[in-house]
Symmetry: C2
């Protein structure tokens, strides 16, 4: 996507860039401050052809960031629900190195938001994470554009895998068949436990509460129930009766705190949540100025999450 | 609203302000660079008690802005569909004076967007207008947060007055009774011609096309049809059959141009547009990254439009 939009970034935003480092589990850490051709590393066996150093030499992310002379880190490791690692260390290293840190990983927000936000501020850099919730739809930026507004609560459907599984089971598929279908569609990962047990949705809920309500919430304080106990029959009957099941995220201010949950609920089929199918997602915000402000994302393209990181890149270097 | 949120603007955004000028048709132009108490001018007969100069002396907006030593102009005149005046002159005067210009008036966007945008850029000031479409929901800012995205088209319901009238007529009221009800609710103005004949919706459509698709469009190029010809019977039958009428705004890229319309349409009652009632509004954007991205604003509070101007104020002085 960076390469696809290189011309437009230059013409419309005055931004030019070089990719000076690539680090993956299979390639190791590769750096070359004069630029790497990412295409030569995609869908290929490890072969750090034009990179200066291989993983044998660059063992730490800090060394790699230095060798790459990085101004921006795009962090895209997978979610560790319990610790938020290694993403937190990567982001910390980037900010301390003096680079903006952009992540698609929700873990750091739930486990280290305030620390990383404050570190970024102290370093005059940005810590951005627009790809973590609702793909790349600029939810956090949307709220950033609403100064002094008070968010009282929200509800929505934020996990695609479970939404696809529930839709397929309504049509008669077993849980295992529906999961397989979601995997074939490229929506569910091989290990979909995080989705099915509601962890992914709970982490997103926690991220929204932490950032938009400025209230750090622990995952264990979110009432969480996955979709494992829903049977094909129950789902088929729910849809038939006009009250399909959805895995619904909710948060509400209560006194000085917040009450949050991720639980399967029966919703009216003609309601906005009842109409969210497949990989679409939905969120409804209650604020003091706008009593109901909802965003619906229908069938995001495959580039939606990558796009969120690209948009964060523009935000980071433009402001 | 400025006074209500004064403390919060200071604490959360480091913004303090003085109101140094007030200009209305009844009060004339009042200015005092050391500050005016707006409360003493609200719901009162003209009496420029603590203002230095009255309308007799400050005959031009330029003189008034100078006397007030204005850094920001909040422009809130009413819409002139044909010319966009006097708002254009006010905004031009503010930018030339060296003040940011914030408007709730759609006319200047349709009639002078590029000139005012370029003038603002040349002066290093902001020309902001978030209150012009969907009350104060940050629609323009939302797109500003999606760099390099391509908007292919949109559709939605953007005029509250006609939406309230259509809803009331579905219940059996005559057009005149429904209009009266909308006026009693404070949604329709005394002269609701602009709403009823689709001008308000057309100007909003033109504003979105001009700014978000970067394609200035003339009002006469928007196919426009109001709601005058819809009868109570037709509306009642439409609702009964599950296909209510809505005044729908549409725009679509076609070749190098854009096709735009504001026309009453029958929409499925369970579709998102079919469910927009009363003063709520809705917009659905088609983009290259997000095939369908929709924003719903339900029952905006009375302060929603004022809030849009407040948010523009924070944007103007924060960046």
């Amino acid at each position: 996507m960076l390469l696809d939009r290189e011309q437009e970034l230059r013409d419309r935003h005055g931004i030019s860039f070089r990719i000076t480092g690539i680090a993956t589990r299979s390639l190791g850490c590769i750096a070359n401050p004069s630029g790497l051709d990412p295409n030569s590393y995609v869908e290929r066996a490890p072969s750090p052809a034009n990179g200066r150093k291989s993983d044998r030499e660059l063992t730490s992310v800090r060394d790699w960031l230095s060798a790459a002379q990085a101004d921006i880190l795009f962090e895209a490791t997978s979610l560790n629900v319990e610790t938020g690692q290694p993403a937190i260390d990567h982001i910390r290293a980037a900010l301390e190195h003096g680079a903006h840190a952009i992540t698609a990983n929700k873990g750091p927000i739930v486990h280290a938001y305030r620390e990383l936000r404050d570190l970024a501020a102290a370093k005059g850099k940005r810590f951005l994470f627009e790809s973590t919730v609702m793909d790349g739809v600029p939810i956090f930026s949307f709220f950033h554009e609403m100064p002094t507004i008070h968010l009282q609560g929200f509800h929505g459907i934020l996990n695609s895998t479970t939404n696809v599984i529930l839709s397929e089971m309504e049509k008669g598929l077993s849980f295992d068949e529906a999961l397989k279908k979601a995997q074939q569609l490229g929506i569910a990962e091989t290990d979909a436990t995080h989705d099915i047990d509601g962890w992914d949705a709970a982490v997103k809920t926690a991220a929204l509460v932490t950032v938009l309500m400025d209230m750090p919430v622990k995952l264990e304080d979110i009432a969480r129930e996955g979709i494992r106990d829903l049977t094909t029959n129950a789902l088929r009957n729910g849809r038939r009766d006009g009250w399909p099941f959805k895995l619904v995220c909710r948060a509400q201010r209560v006194g000085d705190g917040v009450r949050a949950s991720v639980v399967p609920e029966k919703v009216l089929s003609t309601s906005p949540m009842g109409k969210i199918s497949g990989a679409s997602s939905y969120i409804y915000f209650e604020t003091d100025i706008f009593p109901g402000l909802a965003i619906t994302e229908e069938n995001p393209g495959v580039y939606a999450t990558a796009y969120g990181m690209l948009a964060d890149f523009v935000r980071a270097v433009s402001k």
